[in-house]
Symmetry: C2
Amino acid sequence: MTTRLLRLFLVLVLIASVSAQSTGPGSGDLMGFSPAGSSSQRTLEARFDSMLKTENLRDWMKRLSARPHHLGSAYNKENADFILSLFRSWGYQAELEEFHVLFPTPKTRIVEMTSPERFSLKLQEPPVEGDATSGQHAEQLPSYNAYSIDGDVAGPLVYVNYGTPADYEELDLRGIDVKGKIVLARYGGSWRGIKPKVAAERGAVGCLIYSDPRDDGYFQGDVYPKGPYRNENGVQRGSVMDMPLFPGDPLTKGIGATKDARRIDIRSSPTLTKIPVLPISYSDALPLLRNLDGAVVPTAWRGSLPVTYHFGGGSPTVRMKLEFNWDIKPIYNVIAKMPGTERPDQWIIRGNHRDAWVNGADDPISGLVALMEEARAIGELAKTGWKPKRTIVYAAWDAEEQGLIGSTEWVEQHAAELRERAVAYINTDSNGRGFLGVGGSHTLEKFINEVGKGVIDPQTKLSVWERARANRIVNGSADARRDALDRNDLRISPLGSGSDYTPFLQHLGIASLNIGFGGEDGGGSYHSIYDSFDHYTRFGDPGLVYGVALAKVCGHATLRLANADTLPFEFGNFADTIELYSREVSQLADSMRSETARMNADIALGRWLVVQDPTERLVVPKQKDGVPFLNFAPLQNAVAKLRASAANYQVQTRGKSLEPARQKQLDEILYRTERALTRTEGLPRRDWFRHHIYAPGFYTGYGVKTLPGIREAIEQRDWKEAEEQITIAARVLENVAAEIERAAKMF
Amino acid sequence: MTTRLLRLFLVLVLIASVSAQSTGPGSGDLMGFSPAGSSSQRTLEARFDSMLKTENLRDWMKRLSARPHHLGSAYNKENADFILSLFRSWGYQAELEEFHVLFPTPKTRIVEMTSPERFSLKLQEPPVEGDATSGQHAEQLPSYNAYSIDGDVAGPLVYVNYGTPADYEELDLRGIDVKGKIVLARYGGSWRGIKPKVAAERGAVGCLIYSDPRDDGYFQGDVYPKGPYRNENGVQRGSVMDMPLFPGDPLTKGIGATKDARRIDIRSSPTLTKIPVLPISYSDALPLLRNLDGAVVPTAWRGSLPVTYHFGGGSPTVRMKLEFNWDIKPIYNVIAKMPGTERPDQWIIRGNHRDAWVNGADDPISGLVALMEEARAIGELAKTGWKPKRTIVYAAWDAEEQGLIGSTEWVEQHAAELRERAVAYINTDSNGRGFLGVGGSHTLEKFINEVGKGVIDPQTKLSVWERARANRIVNGSADARRDALDRNDLRISPLGSGSDYTPFLQHLGIASLNIGFGGEDGGGSYHSIYDSFDHYTRFGDPGLVYGVALAKVCGHATLRLANADTLPFEFGNFADTIELYSREVSQLADSMRSETARMNADIALGRWLVVQDPTERLVVPKQKDGVPFLNFAPLQNAVAKLRASAANYQVQTRGKSLEPARQKQLDEILYRTERALTRTEGLPRRDWFRHHIYAPGFYTGYGVKTLPGIREAIEQRDWKEAEEQITIAARVLENVAAEIERAAKMF
């Protein structure tokens, strides 16, 4: 034992003694289980754990990522069939469920700088040494952004930083207009689909998106194949469908895209972009950036290429021509069920997507193989006599990359059934070495904390929960540190979008969790041909040990949800977090008020103008309307009711149990509390999104907006809508509080 | 009139009306003047202003920067003679005052990468197009750091970021030792002399310093000659003498370096570096950085070169050989006096250095030509009958670049006389387009605010004070904004080091001001051959209009100090700022206490270790001693006395005047209050620095430390010394308070 190991050992002993009371996985009753039930559940989970093998994950990853397997490809269908046969062999009732969806693929991709000199962009990712699959050129999807419209446009190039609305305010200050021009945006700062959306709103005719090495390349670390980071030729593919409006097939909003579904005309689909857009590498971007004219951009806009970054607007001029095959393609979700013995109509759904942009060893295979090993072990358990109380549904989604299409179509197709039966949805996607990360419904926060305390981290032998907590304390902000030290449970993140939980959570109101490990698997293979088995097993999770840890966390969660006497929903943590969000939106209004007043005073008194460099000829910004004081009282009163109902439920249920029939009835009330957070009218201007606590941001994309109706109205300075949305959110929360009271009355 | 101009005009009218009460240069009495005296002083200043000509500045700049003029060069002596003759022609009693100082120049400069491949660094700055003087190779000093010792060393290279003590803590975490190695530090983060000092303390055998384009190059803006920023070949020369110990000639600490002065042996001089050090360009640094092995450095360490930054430690290996001519060279200060009529023994001293590293159009000629034009106008005024009440002394210092040598030797040589007679020292150095910036003694804060309100900004036609205030309000931190809005006066900065005020202020306790414009003159010509007339007149201050503005500010300040009935020292602002510093040092101890407790807990409980990536094999840092509560009461009580005395002086003097003899006596008390802030024992371990409010940081160099005895003891975690220094600073402040009371009793 080296000194270092000895020190680590002593530290672990110390941590174990300090935190024994809260982390002991073997002590106390599990949420929703009787003492006896807890004990047998623990035994079951120990058997489950003992069956998990890293070799399976490794073998499947190698096979599933051996060839490109995107939507519509031959190998993707092969993978579906392979997974289907495995599920069947493990004892599941498994089927492929087919949909037919719009999927554009490139026919023509031309981008050229036409002045000051002629330069044609390569738009190619070459194979690299030591990567066995990077040379499969014939089967690889070219680098492109799916759901860009066709176009042949030309114009001067303007650099717009991340291309967010705030970035255009900087352009406004300088009197730079993108009308009739092509914008060059860098990846980051927002979800990619926001960039062409905002650019089009501003009148741009085309949009190029590149990966700057500052955010995704050599600035971060050594590039592939020397290290894991994006090399100069790596391109991030990705969908630019307007998912914050609605995800899924662009032609069949709200209904399953079955073969004969009623489709709108492609040209009238609101989720296609308004202008052509293409992603490029930083080696392709460099000559463009080098030739930009105009003023130097602000410090925060500058990347890590060896040039001075300018706004452009006159030079260079660029032409981009894009044409796509606008095909309708079949997709195949693998759906595997293990019926519950006692409450078969209560479904625990567990999913991960299967399709990739190219080989996708990390995204999504690293998560998928964990799901498969978990399903295999549960299948094995079921063969030995144990059966779940509730039905378990495993899903391997297709067409996630294009816009959560497989999961969305399935959810839309089965909406009525899911509304009745779905207890919870547990999602995984890419996974890697590092720390446990959980996002999801806060009614499941206490539950998933309990699960995390019972799984051991492969590197430190602490629980994954304890390591995640230590990370927040040591590396978190002052607020995060305090939160982690003061609360019994780690606060889970709210969910925006970016993976298959969205239709479950935000369209139907099914309590959801999104789970994964990461933070020590940095790299830049995302959506490129370099996301390969070789890359992943060198840098992502070399021993696949975090794959097994993920299978344990999700497997335990699934097994507990399936077996519990009473579903482990809890409302104290939920109310606490809602109160936090309520404070946040009110503070948002306050800080916008003081910031607006400050800026207006600086403009009105002329201070703003006189401190600008006269040679830069900035345009004085318009004063903004002052921010009125909004009536947050309805929201605050609703939160108070929610807190009271949560406390009452805790008091009423303490130490009590129900007879089985009433337990089933209680379950239904419990899992439908999440439905009560939705309204069929949905959010303003996007009725598909029905959840009133969690939504992806209309102008941030994947980034979450909590209390989205209120928050986005304030951000958009629509005070009338903000007050309306306060009332609506208050009513939603009061309804949930009433449901919780109803649950409490069951005892 | 364009729309833009019209808008600007309206804004200016608005500002003028809003701030008339505080900015009217023509209203109210001037500090220290009677109503009648104020009026005639204003008339005098108006005449002074009308004489100033941008053409003179331009002509002199062109001439003075026409050839390299460093310490010991022929052209530097020519410039001295030229300036001497001008001063004489303007009616001054002017002399050259000669000293003889140690000045090493390079004999051998070899730096080569010896593995993994052989590469010899160029160490050359080539001429560029459009720059008339950049080709004067024969007369240019090569790029080097003066007062590096000789050496021929070799070893593996380690990248140490800015090379500050905190950076070495990052190396410690990774178990990286620099013993026997050569460090590569980038410019910035501290004064350059700190880098070899700390490297040597850590056992390094050599030090290279390069300019990273992130801090000083293309990341900032277009590079020369396209734009003003440092190009890939630009090198920052500069002194690495241990100036925080003492500046001036390394062989004659504390005494004037006259021809026959007693000198110590060169080898025993404590202000020479302990290891060889050389500055290099970023084109020379690039191959070295590209070949560094080891782990990737933290984000904050990464620059803007197109490589992944690594720590190194094994590769590359580097050899550096440096040999210098260790000559004793003559230097020449130009000293020009205009004797005062009433109080000739009270001296107002005004200085700017004359020597440059190469052509130095910006540094120092931009400041020097403003001083010259100011002196010329005052000379012209004196020819028309007006004479100053007090003596005015103009100085054009030599050898500033090597370590404030000209000014320091003069101050040391004339210490006794200066202690008696020096009222104040006003320093300038490089000047450029932008905002008024003032640092200095806070007893002169109200005075210099008054001066600033009476000078018009050439671009906005507001007062330079009003524009500087607007800048703090609009662009400052929340604290700076509040301070600017709430206080009648703009708070001036405390002075650390970096120009010729240091010997006056910090060695002798002569109230000082350092004044310059800047902020809109960004660029990277500093200490390179590209600091030329062509560069400056394109980018620095094209019309020399800020040169004239500087002449006005400093000229008015000089004329008012020279003519006032009572010297315009004021103690309310001073006490207010001392109270701020007192709060800061106490908060520093508080924040170190909580930060230490936090870090110690994370280490002790093992949290720190378990959140590290095990593959990085970090070394657990040692716990630090807890920070005790210190007794700040003596300091707080002294500040209270200071406040009371300042208020009393204000009350006693209100509306009163003294007879001339008592006025002179009062003056002496007033200007010697700054002496009372010094102690002959000086600061711990550096007795040359005697001021107990302002000092350059022992480990930051130019960066100021206020209440330095206390602050640095806390920073170095020497709690015993901290409490001793609290007592000492309290006694110093009590002495000053007693002097202020004595002044108040004069009425």
